[in-house]
Amino acid sequence: MAWAKEGHEAAFRELVRRYERPVFSLLYRMVRDRALAEDLAQETFIKVLNGIKSYRPEFKFSSWIFKIANNAGIDHLRRKSLDTLSLDGSPDAATPEEMGATALQLGDKAETPLQELEARELGTVIERAIARLRPEYRACILLRHVEGYAYEEIAEMLDLPLGTVKTYIHRARNELRGYLADKRE
């Protein structure tokens, strides 16, 4: 990453280009709102690039970005009450019927094009199942199975003990299995 420290605009742009999709995707799946996820992703990159001098080379660069992105996402979710987060309407929509009832609104013509896009992108069975996980589980499972990071790296990124990361990922997979089975019966 020495070239980034040189600080040429082209190098910064290349970093944004390389990481914008994974970072945006993680945040989008955490907050389920495109505009908000873009704001948080923007905040992440600005923090990373303006703070590039404090980057420690012994830390993987991608880990550093994801650490800042995850903090931005989790901070936001903590500030905001959980019951407005999910496209499913309420996180208490415990049964497939309840989820189905709220899902009907997704095709509503009154929606803005952006909301329609969000419904299309995050409306699949697996995306809805991910949305129902606790944010901490969600971050862990996305970093593990979507981004492919090792448990140790995730523990470092999220400032969690290794054992906790393993437990979260194991529980998250179990919960996903439950949701997926429910929806496919």
Binding site: G7, R13, V16, E20, P22, Q42, I126, R177
Partner: protein
């Protein structure tokens, strides 16, 4: 005489198996144990679904908006401590 049964696969071993990288000796257990086999199949389905999730793109002007707010160090190196 039957050989001593091998212990069930751990969660981490199942994850390795789902990724196709569990050692053959432990993977053999799946042939004999329907319990682990059922568990492993379910885990593999979830892991595969997650691995196939798409990567979303932010708006096309995302990089421009970021760059507008980033301090670009000059070639003369003003951006040094």
């Amino acid at each position: 005489m039957n050989p001593t049964p091998m212990p069930h696969l751990t969660s981490e071993e199942i994850e390795l198996w789902a990724q196709g990288i569990l050692g053959a000796a432990r993977a053999m257990h799946l042939a004999d144990c329907s319990l682990c086999r059922a568990e492993a199949e379910q885990e593999r389905k979830v892991i595969l679904e997650l691995a196939q999730l798409r990567r979303f793109a932010p708006s096309p002007d995302f990089a421009d908006r970021v760059m507008a707010k980033v301090r670009i160090p000059t070639r003369s190196g003003e951006f040094t401590p």
